[in-house]
Symmetry: C2
Subunit: 151 residues, 2 copies
């Protein structure tokens, strides 16, 4: 975007939390994408691998629920992971509808590699905030998110 904002945004926008959030999210996404690119990964790789590592093998539907990714998109995401040998998809012998997705060692290595790069991106994103302020922001955001997903 060539929108190098040497001007100030309208006060109405700056006073609208949803605008601040979506705008900040754009920068967050760009920085995260750059981090993913350095290891040839995608956004959903990180999410799915994190879920598989933390909770163990899971069905695609459960992965979608965990990571807030739509079922239809989980299909493509798992395809990508399987093609790159980061996860394995096998039918569930106990339930003919399900697939069981399992993370591989390569997937676990990839997850750690992505995490390092992503941490650098977080640092760039939150550069102007102190550690305490970063924590505060994360807490507030998590509460808003919990309310939207659970409440």
């Amino acid at each position: 975007m060539d929108t190098t904002a040497e001007h100030r945004a309208p006060a109405r926008l700056r006073a609208t939390p949803s605008w601040l959030i979506t705008q900040t999210a754009t920068h967050a996404s760009r920085l995260a994408s750059e981090a993913f690119d350095t290891v040839g990964a995608r956004r959903y790789h990180y999410a799915l691998l994190a879920a598989l590592e933390e909770f163990g093998p899971a069905s695609q539907a459960e992965l979608g629920r965990r990571c807030a990714i739509d079922r239809s998109y989980v299909v493509e995401a798992v395809n990508g992971l399987a093609e790159n040998g980061m996860a394995v998809r096998t039918p569930d012998p106990a339930d003919g509808r399900r697939n069981i997705i399992t993370i591989t060692e390569a997937g676990e290595r990839e997850l750690r590699k992505i995490s390092e790069r992503l941490a650098e991106a977080q640092d760039k994103l939150l550069a102007p905030l102190s550690p305490a302020e970063r924590e505060q922001l994360a807490q507030l955001m998590a509460r808003v998110l919990d309310h939207q997903t659970r409440g």
Copy 2:
């Protein structure tokens, strides 16, 4: 999305600010879109009308810079506004490259109407936060945003 998260998201995700932000932004966008829909408006209507009202007539390039909308998208956005009689596009007599966009009275009425609906959406989004916490969140976000846009 049918991802009714009765499960908890992976700790790695919840510890990643960019994930929290983009996730929250998804909900913010949805709530804002619903608000826009009630008055038949779009996201960029609000942004452009707000800039036109606050700073007066402007070129498309300047509107893009103010609102952080790409030039190529401003074209379509202004088309939409002009078709609905909310703004007028005239060539700049002083600079043959530029158009001058001016808000109409209908546009100003529309802006106020959108603002009301949008305020309700903010309330739904930030429901779990106290007024002080909402202010805190806005401040933190604005600082992050300023750092990303100004450098």
